[in-house]
C-alpha cells in the first residue's frame, strides 16, 4: 500500500544576506491514509518549513530546494504542474491549520464571508475546469444552488467542531471570537473541502491547557470519523503522545527517529530523542537540559547535526549522516518499525531494560490511570 504522503530526502534552504541557510537536510517522512503523524522538534528544527514545503508555499525568491521529492498519492508535488497543484491539491486535497488562528483571518470581513469565499473556490462540489485560472476572481460566478449546499455543509461542520449557534457565529468578526473558537473555526475550514490530509502546524501551542485538551480531542475524533490523515507539527511531546499514531523527530533540519507512538515513548533510540524525553520534568522535579545550543544553519555541522552535543559521537558521526537503521524488528513480523538515524542508537539489550519500562511519571507528570 503506498503511503498517502511521502517526503523523500528533502533538502532545502534559504538564501539570506549572510549566506545560504540550510534549513532541511535530507528530511523524510511518510503518512498513510487516515494516520495521524506527529512531527516533533524544538524551535528551529525545520518542521514548519517542511510543512510549508509540502504545501508549496515557501517564499519563492529566497527558498531553494536542493534535493528530494514530495510524493502525494504518487505524484511529486515539486515537479508537477503548478496550476494543477494549486487547483486540486492546495487547499483541497491538502489543507492547513495554522498556529495562530488570529492572524490568518482578515480583520475587516466577517468570518462567514471569509469561509464562503474559500468555498467558492475549494468546495468539493465545485467543478474544476482546467484552463480558467486566468479569469479574474470577481468574474467567477458562484451558482446559488451550490452556494446553498456549501452553506449547509458549513453549518454542519461548525456543529461538528462544537461551536455553539453557528449561524450567529458566522456573522461575527474575527476579533469577536476567542482563541479556542478561532482554532475550532480553522479546523472546520480545513475540513470543508474534504481533504485527504490536514497539516496542523502547532495548532494548540497558543491555547490554554484545558482548551488544548478539547481541541486535540476534537482533531483526533474528526480525523478518524472522516478518515483524514493529519500531519501534526508540535514541540509539545505531550500533545504528540495524546493523539498521534506515530511520531517523527526532527533536529536541525534532519529527521532523526520515527516510531509508532507507544514504542517511541517507551524506548527512544536516538540520543537526541532520549535527551528530549529526559528533559521533561518528572514527578520529583528532576529535569535535565541538553547542553549546548541548536546549530546556526548558515554553517551547520557536517554529518549528523547533533554530533556536537552528543556524548556518543565519533568520527563517522562527524563526517557522514548516518543511514536509516531499523530497530526492534528481528524475528517479529513486518509492521511499522522504529527507525533511527544514529550510528549508536540505544538498544534494549545495551541499556539493560532501563528504557524498556514505561515511566509512569514521565512527561508533564501525573500518575496515570486516575
Amino acid at each position: 500500500m503506498t503511503a498517502l504522503l511521502a517526503v523523500e530526502d528533502l533538502s532545502l534552504g534559504f538564501a539570506t544576506e549572510a549566506g545560504f541557510a540550510s534549513i532541511l537536510d535530507g528530511a523524510s517522512l511518510s503518512i498513510d491514509r487516515g494516520q495521524v503523524l506527529g512531527l516533533v522538534g524544538e524551535s528551529g528544527c525545520g518542521k514548519t518549513t517542511l510543512a510549508r514545503a509540502i504545501l508549496g508555499v515557501l517564499p519563492a525568491e529566497t527558498a531553494r530546494i536542493t534535493a528530494g521529492r514530495v510524493l502525494f498519492d504518487g505524484t511529486d508535488l515539486l515537479t508537477a504542474d503548478p496550476a494543477m497543484v494549486n487547483r486540486t491539491v492546495r487547499g483541497r486535497a491538502i489543507t492547513f491549520v495554522p498556529q495562530d488562528p488570529f492572524t490568518s483571518f482578515n480583520p475587516i470581513f466577517t468570518v462567514g464571508d471569509q469561509i464562503m469565499e474559500i468555498l467558492k473556490w475549494k468546495s468539493p462540489r465545485a467543478d474544476q475546469p482546467p484552463g480558467r485560472d486566468w479569469l479574474p476572481a470577481v468574474a467567477t460566478r458562484y451558482p446559488a444552488d451550490r452556494r446553498r449546499a456549501d452553506f449547509d455543509a458549513v453549518l454542519e461542520l461548525l456543529d461538528a467542531v462544537q461551536l455553539p449557534r453557528p449561524a450567529q457565529l458566522l456573522r461575527k468578526y474575527p476579533h469577536e471570537l476567542s482563541g479556542g473558537q478561532r482554532q475550532r473555526l480553522m479546523i472546520a475550514m480545513a475540513l470543508l473541502p474534504g481533504p485527504d490530509l490536514v497539516i496542523a502546524d502547532e495548532p494548540t501551542t497558543a491555547l490554554d491547557v484545558t482548551i488544548q485538551a478539547q481541541i486535540l480531542g476534537l482533531i483526533r475524533r474528526l480525523a478518524s470519523e472522516r478518515h483524514v490523515a493529519v500531519l501534526l507539527t508540535t514541540h509539545d511531546l505531550g500533545a504528540a503522545y495524546e493523539i498521534c499514531d506515530a511520531v517523527n523527530v526532527m533536529y536541525a533540519g534532519q529527521d532523526v527517529e520515527s516510531a509508532p507512538v507507544d514504542r517511541f515513548f517507551a524506548a527512544p533510540a536516538h540520543p537526541y530523542t532520549t535527551k528530549l524525553l529526559a528533559s521533561l520534568p518528572d514527578a520529583s522535579g528532576n529535569a535535565r537540559g541538553i547542553p549546548g545550543e541548536v546549530p546556526v544553519l548558515l554553517a551547520p555541522p557536517r554529518g549528523c547535526r547533533f554530533h556536537p552535543r552528543c556524548e556518543r559521537a565519533d568520527r563517522s558521526c562527524r563526517e557522514t549522516r548516518p543511514p536509516v537503521e531499523q530497530l526492534g524488528g528481528g524475528s517479529r513480523p513486518a509492521g511499522p518499525l522504529r527507525r533511527a538515524r544514529c550510528v549508536r542508537p540505544a538498544r534494549r539489550r545495551d541499556q539493560g531494560g532501563r528504557w524498556g519500562v514505561v515511566r509512569p511519571d514521565a512527561g508533564r507528570s501525573l500518575r496515570p490511570g486516575r
Binding site: 491547557v209 517507551a266 528533559s279 520534568p281 528532576n286 514521565a362
Partner: protein, 287 residues
C-alpha cells in the same frame, strides 16, 4: 482575593489566560492600581504609596518579565543596563558598583566581556540571563517571576529553571512564580494557588494540590495534562466550553457555568475559601 507569601518559599500562581495572574503581578509592583483591599510588604502597606516611596520598595521587590532579555534597552550597553539600578538606588561608588556587577554576572554564568556588548550582539538565552542579573544587582528579597518559561523549548526550560533554583539559593530569594504551565509549577513551587477568573479557587502545598485536587476547576486543569506513558486524557476530557466573559460574570460561583456539580446554591452564593485538610478551597462541594 487574598494570599500570603512566606519568606524563602517559592509560591506558585497557576491559571489559564484571562484569570488575572499577570495583572496580579503587575498590581503588586504598582503598575496597576487595586480598587479594593490592600497589599502589605514586610508589614508596610504598599498599594497606595507616593511614587517616591514606591521606588524605595522596588528595591526589595522585583519583577522578572516573561522574557527578561526584552527588559534591556537596546541602545544601552549591557554594563550600563546593569549599573542603572545601582545608580538609581544606592550610594555606591564606581568601584563598588563595578564589583557588584561583576559578581552578579558571574552568578548568572556570563563572562565579563559581555559588559561592553549590546543586547543584540548576544544570544536570546544570554539576554535572558542579563535581564535577570539586572534585577539581582539590588539584592532584592522577593522576585515575581511572570511566565518565565513560556515559549521556551522543553530542553531550554530545564536549564532556565535550574538557573532560577541556583540563584534562589545564592541570594536567599523568595519567588512568586506565575505560570500557566503546571509541570513547571510542580517542580519549582512549595505552595500553589489556582486562579480562575480573578479568584483564587484553591491554595495549598504543591503535593496536596497535585495529588488531591479538591476544587472541580483544579481537577479539570490536572485532568487536561497529557501523561506520557499513561492513558490518553483527551479521549474523555470532560470540561466543556470556555471561561465566560469577565465583563459579564456569572452570579455566585464564577465556575458554576462549566461545573458538573453546580446547584442553585452555587448560583446564589460565591463560596469563600474554606480550609480542608492542608488546603484552602473555595467551593460548596469540594471533593
Amino acid at each position: 482575593m487574598s494570599f500570603d507569601l512566606m519568606p524563602g518559599e517559592v509560591f506558585g500562581l497557576v491559571g489559564e489566560s484571562g484569570c488575572g495572574k499577570s495583572t496580579l503581578g503587575k498590581t503588586i509592583m504598582g503598575i496597576n492600581q487595586p480598587t479594593a483591599g490592600e497589599i502589605r510588604f514586610e508589614g508596610q502597606q504598599i498599594d497606595r504609596l507616593s511614587p517616591a516611596a514606591r521606588r524605595a520598595v522596588r528595591r526589595s521587590l522585583q519583577y522578572a518579565y516573561q522574557d527578561p532579555g526584552a527588559s534591556l534597552d537596546p541602545r544601552w550597553k549591557i554594563g550600563s543596563s546593569l549599573r542603572e539600578p545601582l545608580m538609581i538606588h544606592t550610594e555606591l561608588d564606581a568601584t563598588a558598583r563595578d564589583q557588584r556587577i561583576r559578581s552578579i554576572l558571574e552568578a548568572v554564568g556570563l563572562p565579563d566581556t559581555h559588559l561592553e556588548l549590546y543586547p543584540h550582539e548576544i544570544s536570546g538565552g544570554q539576554q535572558r540571563r542579563v535581564g535577570l542579573a539586572r534585577i539581582l544587582t539590588l539584592h532584592p528579597k522577593v522576585v515575581i517571576l511572570d511566565e518565565p518559561t513560556s515559549g521556551l523549548d522543553v530542553s531550554v526550560q530545564a536549564t532556565v529553571l535550574a538557573l532560577f533554583r541556583d540563584l534562589r539559593e545564592r541570594f536567599a530569594l523568595t519567588y512568586m512564580l506565575i505560570s500557566h504551565d503546571l509541570a513547571v509549577v510542580r517542580t519549582m513551587c512549595s505552595r500553589v494557588a489556582v486562579m480562575y477568573l480573578g479568584r483564587i479557587v484553591e491554595t495549598g502545598p504543591t503535593e496536596e494540590i497535585f495529588e488531591r485536587p479538591r476544587h472541580p476547576y483544579t481537577r479539570s486543569l490536572l485532568a487536561a495534562i497529557p501523561k506520557i506513558g499513561g492513558a490518553r486524557v483527551t479521549r474523555n476530557f470532560w470540561l466543556q466550553g470556555e471561561p465566560p466573559d469577565p465583563a459579564n460574570l456569572p452570579s455566585g460561583c464564577r465556575f458554576r457555568t462549566r461545573c458538573p456539580k453546580a446547584t442553585d446554591l452555587c448560583a446564589k452564593e460565591d463560596p469563600a475559601p474554606r480550609p480542608l485538610s492542608q488546603a484552602l478551597v473555595a467551593c460548596h462541594f469540594p471533593d
